[in-house]
Symmetry: C2
Subunit: 278 residues, 2 copies
Amino acid sequence: MTEACWVNGIPQDQVPVSDRGLQYGDGLFETLPAKHGQIPLLAYHLDRLHTGCERLAINAPSREKLQSELLSAACGEHHAILKLLITRGTGGRGYRPPPDSETTRVLIRHPWPDHPPAWSEVGIQLRVCSTRLGHNSRLAGLKHLNRLEQVLARAEWSERDPWQEGLMLDEEGAVIEGTMTNVFVRLVDDRRVTPELSRCGVAGVMRRHLLERSIEAGEPVHKTHLSMKELQGAREVFMCNSLIGIWPVRRLADQEYAVGDWTRRMQHWAREAGIGTH
Amino acid sequence: MTEACWVNGIPQDQVPVSDRGLQYGDGLFETLPAKHGQIPLLAYHLDRLHTGCERLAINAPSREKLQSELLSAACGEHHAILKLLITRGTGGRGYRPPPDSETTRVLIRHPWPDHPPAWSEVGIQLRVCSTRLGHNSRLAGLKHLNRLEQVLARAEWSERDPWQEGLMLDEEGAVIEGTMTNVFVRLVDDRRVTPELSRCGVAGVMRRHLLERSIEAGEPVHKTHLSMKELQGAREVFMCNSLIGIWPVRRLADQEYAVGDWTRRMQHWAREAGIGTH
C-alpha cells in the first residue's frame, strides 16, 4: 500500500485555506474499503454522497468521474482505505454559499488498519459515551464534515481502555449509533431493530446493505426508536460499518451478550458483499 | 487593504488535507475587526478562543503569540477583517484526537465589507430561517468550525431578497440568535433580554461587551428563554456582533419595530468599544 492523495484529480496534499470544507465543514465524505482493486458497495457510497450533495445544494461531481477516480486509486491495492471528501469549494468570507462555487474533491489513500480478528469473532466491549448527538433533521443521515460530536465522543477513551467502540445517545437519551458504526439489535421479544435516523446519526452503507438483505431474506430489521433499557435487555447486539463489517458486542457496562445465529447470519451477508474478515 | 494569509505565522494560503479542521471541523475560529491598526475587544476574542480550546481539549497557542500575530496583521490597515482559525492540527484517520497533535493557526486578512449605513441607522429586515439549531451542551456558546447549520440558514435567502439577516430558532422553537449575530430584545413589559445559550448558539464578543456594560450602567440585560411570541410583541429588537456593531430590527415578518432609546444607548456602548459606524 502506498499512501497517496489527490485534489481534484491531481496528486497534491494541500487545499486552499479559503476552502469551505475548512472554514465551515461545508461538505461531505465517504470512507471506502479497497480490496484487491475492488471497492465493495461502491454504488451505495456514491448514492449517499449524491443524496448529501442534493440536500446541501452542493454541485455533485458526476458519478462516473468519482467512480473512475476511486477505482484508479484502488487499482493494484491489496487492501487500503480510501477517504473521499467533497466540499462546496472556495469562496466568500460569510456563511452564504457563493452561487458559482466549484466543488472540491479530495481523495486520500490510507493503509488498512488491522483490527484483531477476535473483535469480529468473539466481539467487542462497548462504552456508553457521555457526549450526546444533537438533533438536526436537515443534516440527519448524512456523512457531512461537521464531526465534532464524534471527535469529542471518541476522545472519551484511549487505546489502553477496555472498549473498542463507543455508543452515542441523542439529547433525549435514545440510542442512535456508535462513533463510527451503526448498531443493530435483536430484542428480548425477538424483534430485530436498528435506530431510525431522522433527527441525527449517519445512515451507514453497511446498515443499508443489511437492511436490504434482511428484507430479501424475509426477516426484516425495523427502523425504530431504541431505548437504553431495550438495548440492555437485548439478546444480540452488533456494530457495523463498511470497513470493519460487523463486530458483535459482547459487553456493555454490566451487561453481557452472546454472539447468536442472527449476528453470524449478518456477518455472512457482510462477507457476501466483500466486507469483513471473519 | 491587502488580502493576505498566514499559516502558523508563515505567509501561505494552503493547509494539508490531513488537517483535522478540514477532516472534521475539529477547531475554532474568531472574526475580528481591524481599525487603524487596532483590534477592538481583542481580549474578549482571545478569551473565547481559549475557553473553546479548553472545552475541546485543543492545545491553545499562547495569548501573547496570537495577540502579536493578530496585531501585526492589523498593523497599518485602515479597515479590514481578520479571521483566525485554530484547528487541532493534522493527524489520524479516525475521530480520535492524536495525543501529540500540534495546533494549526490560520490567519486571513479580508477587505472590510461595506454595509449601507442605513442598516445601523434605520434598521434591517429580519427573516425567520427554517433551518433550526440542534442542541449540544458541550458545543454551545463556542465559535467552532462545525457551521453547516449557519450555511444552510444563510442559503435560505439571497441578496435580491429584502432581508439583511436571518433569525435562527432551536429545534423546540425558542429564539436563539441570527446566522452571524446575537439578538437583544426589550420586551413589552420593559425587561431587557437576550437568549441564554446553554444548549446551542454562539456567545458573541459584542454580546458579552453589552451584557457587561449594561450591568455597569445598572440596567442589566437578562439571559433567558425567548419565544417567538415574546419577540413579536417586543418594543425594541436589535442584532449585534463584533464587526457590524448593532443593527436595529425594523421589521420581522408582519411586525414592525421602532428604533428606541435603549437600542441607541447600546449603539453608543458599541461605538465606545470602537465598533459600529453610526
